[in-house]
């Protein structure tokens, strides 16, 4: 009976230890990777995307990201840590809130306005082209006057046709 109790206690202890260790193990599981982060942040000294940079500063920045990845931090957490170190300029893409939202909205609005302007221009051009085209049906064209016919006959009479 005592052995069974001891065994039960050991099993419960092991289960408890597993439950306590599980969150810690989960926290250290990588949630992102260097390649995912370096495509979205800048090398501040080089002025290029971090993934394209190989300068000493860029290597130090990549080491920093690797350490945070190993700690199980998410991409957003790592980007926040980089902003804390290097400022907002480290982000390759502006944040999508506040004033920086205009970086996304303005190009879209400009594209829509350009498409509308182009469509309007084509519509006007086609209208203008219609009136200056091959011409209305022949029936709508006034024929030569009798005076025109007379002058034409005179001109033709000068040639030996």
């Amino acid at each position: 009976m005592s052995r069974r109790r001891t065994g039960l206690r050991l099993a419960l202890g092991a289960l408890l230890a597993l439950l306590l260790l599980a969150p810690a193990a989960g926290a250290a599981t990588p949630q992102t990777s260097l390649s995912e982060v370096e495509g979205e942040v800048m090398c501040p000294v080089c002025g290029t995307l971090l993934e394209l940079a190989e300068s000493p500063q860029a290597l130090s920045q990549k080491d920093f990201i690797k350490r945070l990845v190993a700690q199980g931090q998410s991409k957003e957490q790592i980007k926040a840590a980089l902003v804390a170190e290097y400022g907002e300029e480290v982000l390759a893409l502006p944040e999508d809130d506040g004033f920086t939202l205009s970086a996304y909205v303005v190009p879209i609005v400009a594209f829509i306005v350009a498409v509308i302007a182009l469509g309007f221009g084509v519509w006007r051009w086609r209208r203008a082209g219609g009136s200056a085209g091959p011409g209305p049906p022949a029936a709508a064209t006034p024929g030569p006057s009798s005076e025109d016919n007379r002058r034409l006959d005179e001109d033709l009479g000068r040639y030996d046709l």
């Binding site: 501040p44 000294v45 000493p56 500063q57 290597l59 130090s60 920045q61 920093f64 804390a84 170190e85 290097y86 400022g87 907002e88 300029e89 480290v90």
Partner: protein, 174 residues
């Protein structure tokens, strides 16, 4: 000239003006000897508040812009520390500005070289840009009125400090 032509000419002039303005700003951003040094505040590298060059008004300051990933910065660090040990005090200090660098790496650098002079952290490099720094290291001697008296681009040597900087400083502390 029709209204439409005037608008086109104005638009072209505006674009050309912007390009010229951009070029002028880029060319003229570097500080020169005699210019006032930037006065913006930076956080202390070791933490605990901010400091600016204005806090040192009345003293000579040798502002050294550096980074832990910069190899020439490693070469010059011992010479700067030696200068601080001889001349550092109320009337002169070397002031380190760790620029475009991770603060942990910067603190590691300070510990590795046993640097005793104050250190500020310019993580985004904007303060170095205000000086018109073209890279690291760069060193600026600033007089008690806050004006730049010497500019050294690249690593400074013991000879440079002895020949160019020390003659301008108040007498060494006894």
């Amino acid at each position: 000239m029709s209204v439409r032509s005037s608008i086109v000419v104005l638009a072209v002039l505006a674009v050309v003006g912007l390009l010229v303005y951009g070029l002028v700003i880029k060319e003229g951003s570097g500080l020169e000897i005699g210019d006032p040094a930037p006065q913006g505040a930076l956080p202390r590298l070791e933490g605990g508040g901010t400091e600016s060059l204005a806090d040192y008004r009345g003293s000579w300051v040798l502002a050294n812009i550096w980074a832990s990933w910069c190899e020439p910065c490693r070469e010059e660090a011992p010479a700067l520390e030696a200068l601080q040990r001889v001349h550092g005090g109320e009337r002169f200090t070397v002031l380190g500005i760790d620029s475009s660098d991770l603060s942990d790496d910067g603190r590691g650098f300070v510990a590795e070289y046993g640097l005793s002079y104050p250190q500020l952290h310019d993580g985004d490099g904007d303060f170095a840009d205000e000086f018109g720094a073209t890279g690291v290291p760069e060193t600026y001697l600033i007089d008690p009125q806050g004006r730049i008296r010497l500019i050294a681009r690249g690593a400074v040597s013991t000879e440079y400090l002895e020949d160019e900087v020390e003659p301008l400083l108040p007498k060494a502390k006894s």
